[in-house]
Amino acid sequence: MTTATTQATQPSLDDATLVARARDGDVRAYEELVRRYQGPMFRLALRMLASKGDAEDIVQEVFLTAWRRLGQLQQDAAFVGWLYRTTTNRCLNALRARRPMADVDLDMTETPRSDARPDQAAEVSAQMSALIDALGQLTPQQRACWLLREVHGRSYEEIAEAVDSSVTAVRGRIARARAQLAEVMQPWR
């Protein structure tokens, strides 16, 4: 019996198998899924919110909700897409709650302060640090679309679903985000 449970934690098992087992109530299979995907979800939330603590809270909520809703998941292979969608949504909601005025000027958008990311102080290059600051200048929607596409490699269709929008609108937001970010990346300015 011990061997049976060890088996479930083998990292070589594919996601769909782990999801199917977790759906049957196999906690160890679910733990493996958490270990596999908490990192990407945390990094998405961290770059969206520029706060480690808030990002961790969101990751915890996302995985608890996912466990509760496993039974409703139509396809085992849809799990990861669902994680990205839920994490994105929760981040956008958290940002809305932070800034009650929905469409404030870009100038008023909160810039992530460097003291909010103590972990990066040492190792991050000036270039990446400039990019992280510039991300804070984008609208939350632009930031979500850009991060999902350029950092997490999700498809336009998936991103459109995650931010409840059309593929055309997502492409437009990413193009705008890229133009804005590229402008900040000019070293001689």
Partner: protein, 180 residues
């Protein structure tokens, strides 16, 4: 906030065009000062983006444990309790039996058990009779029928040997193939 829809440079090229073939700039793009400036920025952005994508900043070390204890706190039902004898004095959970059956299938090379449902269908000669439904994924192979027959034999045998009840019927479903 004004929504700009196009990012044309003074020379008429768009930023999107530049981005699309940033590694294969044409003659104009190499000569034009506007294009050249924009290409430098896009390149710097791409480098920083690669760095961001490769970044592996981790959440607090006990996050998994925090998540899992919340999960365990509201653990789903362990499934039905199945009677082991006619007198109903011995019971085993559906989940416990499912673990045994899944493990028997997992032990066969090229087979991964996925979902498993078990129910008691009656009592024969004082012994509980079970029906089970097991979903598996296998590697691609040309002896599938033989493989599934092995799965069936092993799972039936495991149920008798480890749980001590007869598995009268096993519905085996091949749900997926996986790469080795």
């Amino acid at each position: 906030m004004a929504v700009e829809t196009s990012y044309d440079l003074p020379c008429g090229r768009s930023l999107e065009q530049l981005w699309d073939h940033i590694d294969a700039a044409d003659e104009h793009e190499r000569a034009c000062p506007h294009c050249s400036t924009a290409r430098h920025s896009l390149r710097a952005l791409r480098e920083a983006t690669d760095e961001l994508a490769a970044d592996r900043v981790q959440p607090r070390i006990d996050l998994t444990e925090r998540i899992m204890s919340a999960v365990r706190a509201e653990i789903r039902g362990r499934g039905e309790m199945l009677p082991l004898d006619a007198g109903d004095t011995l019971q085993v959970s559906e989940q416990a039996v499912a673990v045994v059956l899944r493990f028997a299938a997992d032990e066969i090379e090229g087979v991964r058990a996925r979902r498993c449902r078990v129910r008691a269908v009656g009592v024969e000669d004082g012994q509980t009779v079970l029906h089970a439904e097991l979903t598996v994924a296998t590697t691609y192979r040309d002896d599938l029928a033989e493989l599934l027959a092995t799965v069936r034999d092993r799972v039936m045998a495991a149920c008798a040997a480890s749980v001590g009840v007869r598995l009268a019927r096993l519905d085996l479903r091949l749900a997926d193939f996986y790469d080795r």
